[in-house]
């Protein structure tokens, strides 16, 4: 066991750093990341690990911080604590076998990932989708988006020190999960989209439930606003914190509410219209303040817009098949070629790129996670802010770690 013991605590060895003086003195060395991080640090500053086991990093994100008192001199997120080899699995499994992974890449908005992968395969293989399935996809995906935003809302405010909102949010979210359970069969990690349709048809109970849920949540939203959004403590805490200018959005490739909170009206549903989104009347919420509060407001407004889409989709839900009669068997072969399919997830642009050489399994699948690009700008955004504000910034980026680490 002694050899493994040294490996487990591979910190003290720290070979790279001790060679050029990073940890040469008798200080306690962390691991290679902290040693590497320290090389660029000022000698008087404190180096601190925030995460992976930290309540406000929403999972196992680790942020290395160089602190000057309460101020962050430098921050460096360290990823990979939840790297689950999705891209490797995509190469060794057939598309149908890989589908369950899509529920686990981003567990909060699983259906958007479902859609991105299914869409890429459908585009590559030329599979058609019946109209009813498109509507069902829209309804479930938007319900899922609301559940994601609700959970973000609760968790973000929990980070900022408010406990009541998460109780309220989960209250409504449980109703949503009941509905999605009727439709998809699971509570969280949905993988109910199929190549050429959706797994099950909507039951009357589901349609009825959605019809009742929309006005219910709509009646709750003013209470959310009164409870939290107009709360002066929250506003003081997150207004003008974490300003992300537009050029930063472009340099990092951020998308979703992060881009829309900075005044960039970019939504994949409008920019690259897919499915039947062009048939619905909805708005892209946009704020120009560029701060955490702007991103907060965008997400809250998106809940309302999603409700609008769901309402219209349920009312105009066409009859017909939920699977295309010519939908392929699960063991189908992908034709050779490449395809890229992007959808708008709760966190931004989700993209799946498939390259296939005509074999049983795809040759290469790349998952473009919005959180990956959004989180990348944290280091620049958090420079010079207070440590407490870094929590507010980190939360406002709404990251889901498995999606970032993949």
């Amino acid at each position: 066991m002694h050899s493994t013991e040294t490996l487990r605590s591979h910190g003290p060895a720290c070979p790279a750093a001790s060679a050029d003086g990073g940890c040469a003195d008798d200080q306690i060395a962390g691991d290679g990341y902290t040693c590497h991080f320290e090389q660029g640090a000022r000698p008087e500053s404190l180096i601190l690990n925030m995460g992976p086991q930290h309540p406000s990093t929403h999972g196992v994100l680790r942020v290395l911080l160089e602190l000057d008192g309460e101020y962050i001199v430098r921050a460096e997120p360290v990823l990979g604590y939840l790297h689950r080899m999705h891209e490797k699995m995509a190469e060794v499994k057939t598309p149908a076998q890989f589908m369950p992974n899509m529920g686990r890449v981003d567990y909060l908005h699983a259906l958007a990932w479902n859609w991105a992968y299914v869409g890429a395969v459908e585009k590559l293989a030329g599979i058609e989708i019946p109209e009813r399935a498109e509507y069902l996809r829209v309804i479930t995906c938007e319900l899922n988006r609301i559940s994601s935003h609700l959970l973000w809302w609760g968790a973000y405010l929990l980070d900022l020190g408010a406990f009541t909102p998460i109780m309220y949010a989960f209250d409504d979210r449980e109703m949503l999960l009941d509905l999605l359970q009727l439709m998809t069969g699971s509570r969280l990690t949905y993988s109910s989209f199929r190549f050429g349709g959706v797994y099950t048809d909507a039951s009357p109970a589901f349609v009825q439930g959605v019809r009742q849920f929309v006005p219910h949540l709509r009646s709750r939203l003013p209470m959310y606003t009164a409870l939290v959004t107009e709360n002066i403590i929250l506003r003081r805490r997150i207004e003008e914190v974490g300003v992300i200018p537009q050029d930063m959005v472009a340099r990092y490739g951020a998308s979703g509410p992060v881009a829309r909170g900075s005044g960039i009206a970019y939504d994949v549903r409008r920019a690259e219209p897919y499915s039947v989104y062009d048939r619905f009347d909805y708005e892209i919420p946009l704020r120009h303040e560029e701060c955490s509060m702007a991103r907060y407001m965008v997400r809250m407004a998106e809940i309302e817009q999603s409700l609008r889409i769901i309402e219209q989709a349920v009312e105009s839900l066409p009859d017909g098949e939920h699977m295309h009669p010519k939908a392929p068997k699960p063991s189908f072969k992908l034709p050779a070629g490449e395809s890229y399919f992007a959808v708008e997830g709760a966190r931004g642009k989700i993209g799946v790129w498939i390259a296939s050489d005509g074999g049983k399994t795809p040759y290469r699948v790349k998952l473009r996670a919005p959180g990956f690009s959004n989180l990348a700008l944290f280091a620049e955004c958090a420079r010079g802010t207070l440590l407490a504000d870094a929590v507010a910034i980190l939360g406002s980026l709404d990251m889901v770690i498995p999606e970032i680490d993949r």
């Binding site: 990341y33 990979g80 490739g253 920019a271 690259e272 050779a336 890229y340 993209g351 050489d357």
Partner: protein, 201 residues
Amino acid sequence: MTPDTASVTPDVLLAPLDPAYLADENPARTGLRWSAFLSADALPRAAALLLEAGWHLEDICGLDVREGLMAVYHFDRMTSPGRLAIRVLADRETPVLPSIADIYQGAEWHERETADFYGIAFTGNPNSMPLLLPEGMQGHPLLKDAAARAPLAALLAAQGREDTVLRKAEGFTLLEPAEDAKPAKPAKAKAAATEEGADNA
């Protein structure tokens, strides 16, 4: 939202860099609007031009093919959407590409990820630590066995994608089917790129 930058198409934009191959693609088929092959040296200049014209970097995908290691850079525009794939080939023995992290800061993580998975070294990337893999990890998990590698043409040019080739350098043979390519309907609707006859081995 300046219409002059939004309307500049990549073929005009990248023309001074002399791309080896540039095609106008059918987005309904591949999700791409344009695709280009660039040399590694031209990559930072291309990135600078694209940033100025309002493009953002979506992702960098590594790809292990018979011809070597390839990095595919996907760019998109917020103002007038349309995806551009820039493909850069690196040598298998010494896979080195220039970093664009000083132009697109978001590329830093994408490059580190590609370095983790494929072992491509990006010169100029500010951080040399592995991003997703643990320290002390040996090997690069997404590299393929020699037997499993496919030729690039089988992946990118095999289907009837109705590309319009806008530029093609002399002696550009990457997208022409190799002789031992799998007979997965190679004759049916060849890519436009394969029409020019230069033999490939």
